[in-house]
Amino acid sequence: MHPVVTLVVQRIALGLLLLLAVSALIFFGVEALPGDTAQAMLGQSATPEALANLREKMGLNDPLVGRYFHWLYGFVTGDLGVAMTNGMDIAKSVGQRFGNTIFLAFWAALISVPLAILLGLLAARYNGRWPDRLISGVTLATISLPEFVAGYIVLYFLAVKWQIFPAMSMVFPGMGVFERLSAIILPVIVLVLVVLAHMMRMTRAAILNVMQSAYIETAELKGLGPLTVIWRHAFPNAIAPVVNVVMLNLAYLVVGVVVVEVVFVYPGMGQFLVDHVTKRDLPVVQACGMIFAAVYIGLNILADVVSILANPRLRHPK
């Protein structure tokens, strides 16, 4: 077998093993939270009888390890059970929320990744001159702003003051694609502002690093223009670090945007998870945790695989 295939298979196997470890961590970690679902659900208005009845009904009195394997089997077979709190099918409600999250993340990524890489290339091309300083300055400023502040600023000007875009990014099943797109404009703007700098800076740094190499000098001496040198010769060798940062940011767009969701009333996974953590709805929390972990691990594997494939030394071993 080609050594690259072995390497890739190894990475994927390791990823799955990691996911299994994470599943145990999530399950037992969630179980260790103080208080229990029954108490959290009934809140201040819980009577002792109602509490006892609810605990019995939810099977909170069964042994822990048995519950773990039962849960894991269910998760693998796609049976996530029903939410303890409102009896709704978890796979269905999580599926819908996850779809929304992916929709938002997709559009934010579609704009931010090419933009970040382009800006990174430009900044590297004009290293140390005004375009570089302008790009770096602006993107560093937007990344330094906490998301909710950026969100409120955008909300105030674009939705309340000038009323160009809707203040709420409510999306629901049965909505047309264009309606959905116009609904998510504000959160996409904020997310792009938040993730842009990290990817841009990494692209710039990786390319500048490569630019010191002898073969770049050769390319320049051949008489190639500066942008062609960067695009054809420097960038392919800077892909590995850039892809890693891009994947980290994509993972963030999927799992870390709860604040933006709250500010723009977007029905994504973040708020969904927070609600269920507060109510100690363990099956839902565990399902969300596993999905987030799978996304994170999956994207990291993808980054590794791309880096491996982009590395000529690994592709063509002696």
Binding site: Q44, T85, Q163, V262, V265
Partner: protein
């Protein structure tokens, strides 16, 4: 038309100015009396309910975990949702009187032990079935069942026998209770077909709107129930509740016109929002109150002098001004205010009195070790700040009050009703008996001050069966005084419901029973195009 005239017209239309006054002041602007009458008639027509349209509310207090089962409703959004699709036997109106809904007549035996509810004829559920006395009994039975998780369990537990005969429901109680009709207005007791057994969360009721989409924590949409029995409600064709838990986002949605009304306006921004175009603030004094509770059976709070010292060392007016932004009233260490029927307003108001507090503290013989008040930001809005104000005013009286901050997470299970001194809130109840029975009777599950006084219990139970309002009022006054002077409750303030709506919303009327016109704003209001 001049601005002044427009202004006068809007005042007159809202009933803030009499007809005579309007004609007089319009005359001063050069308008003839006949013309003024015509104008007034035109705006009076404009205030007639407008049919149709889509009315939207943006609300705090909804989670992805909410259910349509009325037994489980515990926060604002499920409450408002249930009030749209559901209908109870009776309702309590803004004046604190009984409004007949599914029941059209109520009568009781002289000892208030046996109650008869006559069921209105031809009221239709959303699935086309007609509401019968059997549905009512099945509903009450489901909530009465010890295995149920109903928030109304405590309310219906006292019913020993229920029978249906034709269109008459008869309820027999273990002990007389003159307030039973008010208890039947509890928002959990929504009448469901067959009692909702097996389909608890189906959202089928007899209310003005049918559930169309139910996405908990996101949005709930409704369409008009065409055969709704009450034509004074349900003006919009469609209504929607959108869950917006973030204060800023909710306010922005209102200002941008994406929702027509919002609940829970943050006191800090009331003044700012007042200046916003097209938006008005609506507030009404409710029965909800923010409290600090001491366990009367745990040291050092088992000493009434110490409890009194703490009560005297609260600067109530300051809290109303700073925590509620002035949108509230001061409390008097018992859980009742003027929004309740039979309230005794002659009970003297407890004031902040440093000298008396110091004296009471000295008299208690407390050893001077820190008195710890446990508080979380989620205990009530502004709880941490209120505790800090309390600490300052108590320290000024030489009382070593200290604050221990707790996380919101698990506060209601680990601190409230467990810790001897903590912050909390109560939402209020329609009648005094229910408030006292829920939290101050020795045997109550939620007796969160561990206040146990046999004489208090006896008076409370006797008052329940007392049908003479004068005697009843005297008994409640007695209870209030006992609690005020010996109880473990420090009640510095009653909070107003502060809400905001857009100017195109018509039909808004203050209702002290609950948020957003007791959950009925979407059904009772309409859209002026």
């Amino acid at each position: 038309m001049s601005n002044e005239l427009n202004y006068l017209l809007s005042r007159a239309a809202k009933g803030l100015m009499s007809r005579r006054e309007f004609v007089g002041r319009a005359g001063a602007l050069g308008v003839s009396a006949a013309m003024a009458s015509t104008l007034l008639a035109s705006v009076a027509r404009a205030e007639e309910p407008k049919k149709g349209g889509l009315l939207r509310a943006g609300m705090q207090g909804g989670e992805s975990t909410n259910s349509l089962d009325p037994a489980l409703a515990a926060s604002e959004v499920p409450f408002a949702v249930n009030m749209l699709w559901g209908e109870m036997l009776v309702d309590v109106n803004a004046k604190g009187e009984i409004d007949y809904r599914i029941a059209e007549e109520i009568s009781s035996s002289p000892d208030a032990k046996e109650w008869k509810f006559k069921i209105r004829k031809g009221v239709e559920f959303h699935d086309g079935k007609i509401v019968t006395a059997d549905d009512v009994i099945a509903t009450l039975k489901r909530h009465t069942d010890e295995k149920s998780q109903s928030g109304a369990l405590g309310i219906v537990q006292g019913i020993t026998e229920m029978t249906a005969e034709g269109d008459m429901v008869t309820l027999k109680l273990a002990a007389g209770n003159a307030d039973l009709p008010f208890l039947m207005a509890d928002y959990h007791l929504i009448i469901q077909p067959g009692g909702g057994v097996g389909a608890e969360a189906a959202g089928i009721g007899a209310g003005p709107y049918k559930v169309v989409t139910n996405e908990p924590g996101v949005r709930h949409t409704f369409a008009k129930h065409a055969n709704y029995f009450d034509t004074t409600m349900g003006h919009a064709d469609e209504v929607e509740i959108i869950v917006i838990n973030d204060n800023t986002a909710r306010t922005a949605a209102l200002q941008a016109g994406q929702v027509h009304m919002i609940n829970r306006v943050d006191p800090k921004i009331i003044e700012l929002l007042k200046g916003a175009p097209g938006v008005s603030i609506e507030h009404v004094a409710g029965r909800g109150h923010y409290v600090f509770i001491m366990h009367c059976d745990k040291a050092p709070f088992d000493n009434n002098d110490l409890r009194m010292a703490l009560k005297l060392s609260v600067n109530r007016q300051e809290m109303v001004d700073k925590i509620l932004g002035g949108y509230g009233t001061i409390g008097n260490d018992f859980p009742i205010n003027s929004a309740y029927p039979l309230f005794d307003d002659s009970i003297p108001q407890r004031e902040y009195d440093v000298a008396a507090a110091t004296e009471a503290y000295k008299k208690s013989g407390h050893d001077g070790s820190p008195i710890v008040l446990q508080v979380a930001a989620g205990a009530f809005p502004g709880a941490i700040e209120a505790a800090q104000l309390f600490q300052q005013s108590a320290n000024a009286a030489g009382i070593p009050l200290e604050i221990k901050r707790e996380p919101d997470d698990g506060y209601w299970s680990n601190v409230w009703n467990v810790a001897p001194f903590c912050a909390s809130y109560w939402g209020g109840r329609p009648v005094q008996d229910q408030m006292y029975s829920t939290a101050y009777l020795s045997t109550a599950d939620w007796n969160d001050t561990k206040f146990k006084d046999p004489a208090f219990d006896a008076t409370l139970i006797a008052a329940r069966a007392e049908l003479d309002p004068v005697k009843r009022k005297a008994m409640y006054s007695d209870l209030a005084n006992t609690l005020r002077d010996t109880g473990g409750l420090i009640c510095p303030m009653f909070n107003d419901f502060v809400e905001a709506k857009r100017e195109e919303v018509g039909g808004w009327a203050a209702d002290p029973n609950g948020e957003l016109m007791n959950g009925r704003a979407l059904a009772k209001c309409w859209l002026n195009a």
